[in-house]
């Protein structure tokens, strides 16, 4: 805990490693909690914090300009007494001396918040790389604004687009590319799209919808080899088929950025291990956002790692509370959204434990939700073009009231009547 009283400026700062969603929310939450300690944000990126969700959606399609990506104007940081150092990679943490080191400097912290996020899982294909380990021209990952800018400009010229990975980012990008009349093929080794995240019913609806929009979807298949001397020209599928390709986007998941914390002796697993207060195994060091491996109180304190705006924001508040001396545990229903072309997919809760899926119909075939139950208790809800179901699901799960599967399946039944 650091000085919470206002006016106690000076002394060592709260240091945040990372300049993403979680970092900004932490600054906001600390100031809202009246923590007056200076804040030092160290980010390896060249830009002030920006929103990532548009990078695979409206920024690529041109609907959102670059200037709208920034989470806050530059003046915000000054107003909030946050010193931001961009292009600054933190290379070591010393938890005994309470310092962090960069190439050229060392900073002492009052409290340290690790918000290093995650990085794209690299494509395990030798042919994707040129000699110096760089990706072959035309092969792209998608995590930061530089990636997205590069893809956006490649899209102008591209005709044959291949996507590896039918997850959220892959399908969002594929939808944008196909709306630009590109020839788009998506590969995934799984037998359905978004297999790790949504119910089979939702997968098959999106698969059909994307196919109807001329996106070719190859399931149970992947790219075996990428061909091209200076630039990708073709790919060979595991099935043996060869396809022309001038733009290849890889979206096969992410790896949490834990190495820095691990090297400092902080416990790491599938992320930096934290308790319900976002505290790591080392005193005065917190971890929040995509890099944190944390318990969720709505699901028997199961340890999970989430990649979502919701989680980054809610964990930022929890860590800020601890630093301000107003310690409150993380208690949040996970939610997420993905816009794919014209369609909106919204998810509330965690579905891993589900043993029963119930479809709730909406006004048309393009509006419905799938309710996931475990032992007849509601676990999570995936909604397609049904914001009302999604919002009700967030409330039902938060209040821990479960409709019966029969009630969920009956569109005439008013789910709202179950809420206190």
């Amino acid at each position: 805990m650091v000085a919470a009283a206002s006016g106690s400026v000076g002394g060592n700062p709260v240091i945040i490693i990372g300049g993403g969603q979680a970092a900004v929310q932490l600054c906001l939450a600390l100031r809202k909690q009246k923590v007056a300690t200076p804040i030092l944000m160290l980010s390896e990126e060249a830009e002030y914090p920006y929103h990532r969700p548009p990078l695979s959606k409206s920024f690529l399609s041109g609907e959102t300009d670059e200037e709208k990506l920034a989470m806050r104007p530059v003046s915000f940081y000054e107003t909030k007494d946050v010193q931001v150092k961009l292009n600054t990679v933190v290379s070591a943490i010393d938890t005994v001396k309470q310092t962090v080191a960069t190439e050229s400097a060392e900073f002492t912290y009052e409290a340290l918040v690790v918000a290093t996020g995650a990085r794209p899982r690299p494509l395990p294909l030798d042919s994707a790389y040129i000699d110096d380990g760089h990706l072959l021209d035309g092969v792209h990952l998608l995590r930061d604004v530089q990636h997205s800018r590069a893809i956006k400009s490649a899209l102008e010229e591209a005709s044959n687009v291949v996507v590896i990975g039918a997850g959220f980012i892959g399908l969002e990008f594929a939808s944008v590319a196909s709306a630009m009349a590109k020839n788009v093929t998506v590969f995934d080794t799984a037998d359905r799209v978004m297999a790790r995240a949504v119910s089979p019913d939702i997968s098959s609806w999106f698969e059909q919808t994307h196919r109807a929009n001329n996106i070719s979807i190859r399931l149970g298949d992947s790219v075996r080899e990428i061909i091209g001397d200076e630039k990708v020209t073709r790919v060979i599928a595991s099935s043996g088929e060869e396809l022309d390709c001038d733009l290849l986007v890889v979206g096969i998941g992410v790896l949490p950025n834990v190495e820095l914390a691990a090297a400092a002796g902080i416990d790491c697993d599938n992320g930096i291990v934290v308790n319900k207060y976002c505290e790591t195994s080392v005193a005065n060091v917190y971890a929040i956002g995509d890099c944190s491996y944390h318990p969720n109180s709505f699901y028997s304190n199961k340890m999970i790692r989430l990649e979502s705006v919701q989680n980054a924001t809610d964990q930022a508040r929890v860590a800020a509370g601890c630093i301000a001396g107003d310690k409150k545990p993380y208690h949040a229903v996970p939610w997420f959204w993905s816009d794919q072309g014209e369609h909106s997919l919204q998810m509330a809760g965690l579905s891993d434990a589900a043993d029963q899926f119930v479809r709730r119909a909406g006004a048309t075939d393009d509006n419905f939700s799938v309710f996931h139950f475990s032992a007849a208790k509601l676990q999570s809800v995936d909604s397609v073009n049904s914001p009302r179901d999604h919002m009700l699901a967030r409330k039902l799960i938060a209040e821990q009231v479960s409709p019966t599967p029969e009630q969920a399946a009956d569109p005439e039944f008013d789910l709202k009547s179950l809420l206190p």
Binding site: Q25, L28, H51, P53, P54, K68, M71, R72, P73, S75, F76, T79, V309, T313, R317, W335, W337, D339, S344, Q346, P387, R388, H390, M391, R394, K395
Partner: protein, 107 residues
């Protein structure tokens, strides 16, 4: 440029200029007005950009879509008839002089 006045819950007024086509939420953030949080960045997913637009100022304000309507059931301060999500309203000439009341809490 058309003008917008944001009014904090404590009555403090902030008169700022807004570019056409930019949402009221974005105008508030670019002027460092704290009463808007906008966690989801304008995706109509978080309801932390809640505001009130009283009858005197609703002329020219577009009607809400169903997702905004649903999301308004999730605001930190209770919804009122004048409740809107500021990320869903884009600035336009017709809105010149609009007053936007901010709630005391967003989450």
């Amino acid at each position: 440029m058309p003008k917008v006045t944001f009014i904090d819950a404590d009555g403090t007024r902030h008169e700022v200029e807004g570019k056409n086509g930019i949402s009221l939420m974005e105008i508030a953030l670019s002027n460092n007005i704290d009463g808007i949080e906008a966690e989801c960045g304008g995706s109509c997913m978080c309801a932390t950009c809640h505001c009130f637009i009283e009858d005197d100022f609703t002329a020219g304000v577009p009607a809400m879509e169903s997702d905004e309507d649903e999301m308004l059931g999730f605001t930190a301060v209770d919804r009122k008839p004048s409740s809107r999500l500021s990320c869903q309203i884009k600035m336009a000439d017709e809105l010149d002089g609009i007053e936007v009341q901010l709630p005391s809490e967003q989450n």
